[in-house]
Symmetry: C2
Subunit: 401 residues, 2 copies
């Protein structure tokens, strides 16, 4: 072994930390713990029967294609089906505007790779998805956090941040936004806020990265158009994934955007994994073709809505009055805010003892704030466990109050 | 769309180029072209029947696990099976010394990510695998090329390069070596050379990246131990993959090495794709368990040996005497050297007209040399097409001589 490993490491890798969520997932592998920590879909949403049928079909008819190397841009059939799907949702795009990635986490990494030099500024939500923050941090990004209100990223604070940078002759590489059922807060950005932020992005010539893994999981309320469709001038890159509407085990996502930017992403992807598995791409393409995807989404929405409802009801019933939580209209998460003097990382140890787990809020705050917050997942555990878990969590919180 | 995209791009991404091989693969999609260009396995090596059986088994017994998120380190069953396999080959390793990656291309990218800062020096072969060069170039590595002789990387030149750097108080981040049936040259490094280079690496406290995708495809001659096993002090990181011995469409590879380094790679991987598809990992694990992998490798070796043999025979028969080629004892490639005044990139246009394709040698030379060389793949086309392709190629070359 080399004597001086530290000196061999890149500057960026010296600062890399293990993802708290991933480490927590290991901890919560103990089946007696009710875990609200992960972002896992419920296993009973996986369409095992339909999938088995499709796979046998692919293996008997097109195995030689599915098992071979594929194009870096992705399987053309899958891309075509996704483009059709998005055109129905108001996206003015063609095949050249969509490429496949190895789940949307890879898209976040590649966005970091093509845009971020060390100490470059980017704008993110306070709070924001940990995996996005990590991907950008690994390229040395300096993050400017903008708080959220109930309509999404605070407009005035974003405007001030952009003005402030502009006055110094600077601009951020992009604004990272999760507009629908945001991870971790569960908040959906209003249409007005989307339009206002698009205007700001245009004024300051800044790209928007729209990360949209949960959008199709709306249980109630009115759908808001994506930033991409509201704009349709390619000021936005939109990231999608099958992880929450089909199965994360396939690791398939996509990026929609301007051709010139996608070309750069494809070049970066070539050296990153050559191509996303053609095997799983072809299977999911045939699965969509058969109309199974939409049916499965309807099934998932009913299941998750019920899980959210029992959880919200349990919060009402068991949580002390000082505790606040968000009421998401869809997605997988809600966000709990405790009184200022409580620290959810201290509570965590007690919570594990009481066999319930969550993610400590600070993980989602690039500025180290959020000490009194936690993210709660309602999609993974059963309804019964959701209620039991809230009970346990309420007991732990009461102890600390 | 943003007005000034160029200013938003990272310094590294401004220099990114499309891989010539990937672009060529598109060109050679024309089925009338005999393509020696790609690094593709023959489709009839894919174990479709056994695989279909295994997949149905996995879907009926462990779909919920295979379709869910998995650990960043990889499926424990698959890792355990691979560790056992390597221990039989003289690797003194345990589970913590092996992690799964999304094919070995991702391992190359992650190695770049954790070690390379812009302008850092690394040592590579002249010629060397294009995908490795691209992965490292995308982090801004400055490459020092060391020519190969028939025993592998030239020892004296490597020694001088290390001494030279040392005298300036510098050292390379690593030495990148493909010891068995090297891509593109087909050369296998001798045991003596391996031991000598290991000694140099220790003396100058430099890591060795041993990229080993073809090692198990030896048709003849005596097996040489891996750099890893010859050393067994963790001075070496070894990269492996199922792409050439099973199927590239699964995109599964692995890295073997020191735990501390693997920890860093895992941290980088977390933000890169969270995990390699658990679905394909579990399938290939069950496939190995059943003993199918070793049987399939035996089958592949027989097929590729025959393909190589007819190709070498065709070279003898059709090539003009000025042309030289390597005679690999295994793998997928051989390397052609034309007289100095010929340029294989000029020949390429004519070759495509004559319906035969190869990869222009310069792609593999970090110093821009190799203009009179080309890489020839013998695994993908049928034996008949291998002969016909060599005939066509010989005609093109004769025209230019």
């Amino acid at each position: 072994m080399v004597k001086d490993l530290e000196s061999l490491l890149s500057v960026n890798s010296r600062g890399m930390k293990k993802s708290q969520i991933r480490e927590l997932l290991k901890l919560t592998a103990d089946p007696s713990i009710i875990s609200f920590a992960g972002g896992l879909p419920a296993a009973d949403t996986f369409p095992v029967e339909e999938l088995t049928q499709i796979i046998n079909d692919v293996m008997s008819k097109e195995a030689h294609l599915a098992l071979q190397y594929g194009a870096t841009e992705g399987d053309t059939l899958l891309r075509t089906l996704l483009v059709e799907r998005y055109r129905k949702q108001g996206f003015n795009i063609s095949l050249e505007n969509l490429i496949i990635t190895t789940a949307s986490q890879q898209a976040l990494d590649l966005v970091g790779k093509i845009f971020i030099d060390r100490d470059d500024k980017i704008i993110v939500g306070l709070p924001s998805y940990l995996g996005g923050l990590s991907a950008f941090a690994n390229y040395g990004a300096e993050m400017i956090g903008i708080p959220l209100d109930e309509e999404g990223m605070d407009y005035t604070k974003l405007k001030h941040a952009l003005e402030d940078l502009n006055s110094k002759g600077e601009k951020p590489k992009f604004i990272y936004i999760i507009p629908d059922f945001q991870n971790p807060s569960g908040i959906t950005m209003s249409e007005k806020r989307r339009l206002d932020i698009l205007e700001l992005a245009k004024k300051y010539d800044v790209l928007i990265i729209e990360d949209s893994p949960y959008r199709e999981l709306r249980f109630e309320g009115t759908e808001v158009q994506t930033l991409y469709a509201l704009d349709n001038t390619e000021q936005v890159l939109t990231l999608g994934t099958f992880s929450k509407i089909f199965a994360p085990g396939f690791r398939i996502g996509w990026v929609i955007g301007n051709k010139e930017i996608l070309d750069k992403i494809v070049m970066a992807k070539q050296a990153t994994d050559l191509c996303t598995p053609p095997f799983t791409q072809r299977i999911v393409a045939r699965y969509i073709e058969k109309g199974y995807l939409d049916k499965n989404i309807e099934k998932i929405k009913i299941m998750y809505r019920e899980k959210r409802d029992v959880m919200l009801k349990a919060f009402e019933e068991y949580m002390p009055p000082q505790i606040k939580w968000t009421c998401p209209e869809g997605g997988l998460f809600l966000f709990l805010t405790l009184p200022d003097h409580l620290d959810t990382s201290e509570l965590f140890i007690e919570a594990i003892k009481e066999k319930v787990a969550y993610v400590v809020g600070t993980a989602f705050y690039c500025d180290g704030e959020g000490k009194n917050t936690m993210r709660i997942n309602f999609s993974y555990s059963s309804k019964k466990m959701n209620v039991e878990g809230v009970k346990r969590l309420a007991d732990v919180i009461k102890k600390y109050l």
